[in-house]
């Protein structure tokens, strides 16, 4: 980045930008395996409590973010049951850390990711999977060699939705891990803060533009990847 650029935003703002990218990236990447697993279970298996799982996955969408953040706080906070356990056994502390922001973003984005991947899985022809199994591939291998490559467009779509959502997530994050510059102050928290004071619009606008640029870059990349994948399948 040229110095003009760098100086267009203050150092605290740059920090927020870097943090947002880190948080969103890890939120997306780390929730992907579970997202794929849950999507697969919902799309292909019938089990007791399936609709309950489905409901839980959708919860973050239904609840106001503040409520989700509060629930996270009482569960994963230092004194929360899970938070205490994580701390005691693994030394993982989420509260007031960027990792907590990533968890909040991941949870908020989870329903979007799962739905996209699930739709893709439902579109895979089970006959192809059956063909793979006759060729000697066990269930996990069928998944890895046939299902997974075929749902790549869905995975890409789910990831970009999750990433975009994570870039924009604010309510749950600030409620869960508050707003500590350099630790948990992401772009949206910074924007929010600017909008709370009269005359803060200009600074907010700068950050809004940055957020849009980041998300657009991710979006373009995802479209490009999806197109390549689709082209390969179509033959070319």
């Amino acid at each position: 980045m040229g110095s003009d650029w760098a100086s267009w935003l203050g150092p605290a703002e740059w920090q927020a930008v870097r943090l947002s990218i880190r948080v969103s990236f890890w939120a997306t990447l780390a929730s992907l395996p579970l997202g794929i697993f849950v999507a697969y279970a919902l799309a292909r298996w019938d089990f007791w409590g399936k609709q309950v799982l489905n409901g839980i996955v959708h919860l973050p969408l239904i609840l106001p973010p503040v409520v989700t953040g509060y629930l996270l706080l009482i569960t994963f906070g230092r004194r929360g049951p899970v938070g205490e356990f994580l701390d005691a056994w693994f030394g993982i502390v989420l509260s007031f850390r960027w990792t907590g922001a990533a968890v909040a973003a991941a949870i908020m984005a989870f329903p979007l990711m799962v739905r996209a991947i699930r739709l893709a899985i439902e579109a895979v022809d089970p006959k192809l999977e059956a063909a793979a199994s006759t060729l000697g591939a066990s269930r996990p291998w069928v998944f890895a060699t046939v299902t997974l490559p075929l749902i790549l467009p869905g995975i890409i779509a789910g990831s970009i939705l999750a990433f975009a959502k994570a870039i924009g997530e604010f309510g749950a994050t600030i409620t869960f891990v508050s707003n500590i510059p350099g630790q948990t102050q992401t772009i949206p928290s910074a924007i929010y803060a600017f909008l709370q004071v009269p005359g803060g619009q200009d600074s907010a606008t700068r950050l809004v533009i940055i957020a849009i640029i980041i998300a657009m870059a991710a979006l373009l990349l995802s479209e490009y990847l999806a197109r390549r994948v689709a082209k390969r399948v179509a033959g070319s």
């Binding site: 006759t134 060729l135 075929l150 399948v233």
Partner: protein
């Protein structure tokens, strides 16, 4: 006793009820559209769990609904050539072909990729993805994919239907080789009676989910009720005597010398030659001056008049039977009757390469 299939399964409006015991070799499933061929094969593959049934290859039980055994498809080591090719769209042709090999056990006998690709004529397609292949190209890749997985049992659902005659003629011997050299049992669906006659050790005729005939091809294919009069054929056992310079091969049968266009087998080999009943002309006296080289003789062992203008006359020649389909008018004009001796005229060129099966294993027993 090799492949034993006992399957009962009901769909709304369709019931499959089959109990057959197939010897090693190629068992051809034969029957009209919707008679349950694919359903049966799917049960063997493990893609359909029948309501009741037991499927075993020799002692190896794939399925037993009473014993609660149901081997997963990927443990059955089958090479299934699907009716609808089912290629993996995200893999290149080469990767499709190699797919099964990945999962084949180390000790599996796997065909050579290069040879198979050559045989199927798909060398120029290897780098392509299946999306834009033509119908026949897809089918050929599907054949290759199944054969290259080192299967212990091959299931082929109309593998050659989309192919032209020339290509068929190239690929058929390959299945023969698998049957004979590699000794993989093959369950093969086909509508083409030439294919049936050529490949089959056993023919299973299905109709509306039931087996209406099951046995060696000579028996089932001679059964007009199964194949229709136009499909009736006989199989003659013949021994290669010599190859002649003018491109003809001389064979000895119990009924006389048979001249055929040059065939590949060495002198001394024993073959089965399919002769379509409608290709045989009968004559009481030995005819002379005809362009047809083959004049066999035998005794009329059976004579059946059809409902239409046709009649089926069967000659006993040595151990074999030779059927001729002629008109009732000729039967009367020639005064044919059971027990008479008679000459059979067969054109050399009427016997196509398709019709000569090599080294067929010992005749199957019918259960």
């Amino acid at each position: 006793m090799s492949l034993r299939i006992k399957v009962q399964h009901g769909f709304a409006g369709f019931d499959l009820d089959v109990d057959i015991d197939l010897p090693h070799g190629v068992s051809v499933l034969f029957g009209p559209s919707g008679s349950g061929k694919t359903t049966l094969i799917n049960a063997v593959a493990g893609l359909l769990r029948p309501d009741h049934g037991r499927i075993a290859v020799d002692d190896w039980v794939l399925l037993d609904t009473t014993g609660r055994r149901n081997l997963a498809p990927h443990r059955r080591r089958i090479g299934y050539i699907f009716q609808d090719a089912r290629l993996f769209p995200h893999l290149t042709v080469r990767q499709n072909l190699a797919y099964g090999r990945w999962f084949a056990p180390r000790d599996a006998r796997v065909e050579s990729m290069d040879r198979t690709v050559d045989l199927l004529g798909i060398g120029h397609l290897l780098a392509r993805r299946p999306g834009t292949l033509s119908g026949g190209e897809k089918q050929r890749v599907a054949i290759g994919r199944a054969l290259l997985s080192g299967p212990r049992l091959i299931l082929a659902d109309e593998p050659l239907a989309a192919l032209d005659e020339a290509r068929k003629a190239e690929i058929l011997p390959y299945f023969e080789r698998l049957r004979d050299e590699v000794a993989v049992p093959i369950l093969y669906v086909s509508h083409a009676s030439a294919e049936v006659a050529r490949l089959a050790t056993t023919v299973v005729a299905l109709r509306e989910g039931r087996v209406i005939a099951c046995g060696p091809p000579a028996q089932v294919l001679g059964d007009v009720g199964v194949v229709g009069a136009r499909g009736a054929a006989s199989l003659l056992t013949a021994r290669v005597v010599a190859h002649h310079a003018d491109g003809l091969t001389e064979l000895a049968t119990g009924a006389g010398t048979l001249w055929l266009p040059r065939i590949g087998d060495a002198a001394g080999a024993t073959l089965q030659v399919r002769i379509m009943a409608q290709d045989v002309i009968l004559s009481r006296d030995r005819p002379v001056g005809l362009s047809a080289l083959n004049i066999l003789h035998g005794t009329i062992s059976d004579l059946r008049l059809g409902d239409g203008p046709g009649a089926m006359v069967t000659l006993a020649v040595d151990e074999d039977r030779l059927s001729a389909r002629i008109t009732r008018r000729s039967v009367e004009a020639m005064g044919l009757a059971k027990g008479q001796t008679c000459h059979a005229v067969i054109k050399t060129v009427a016997v196509a390469p398709d019709d000569i099966g090599t080294g067929r294993p010992s005749p199957p027993s019918h259960d």
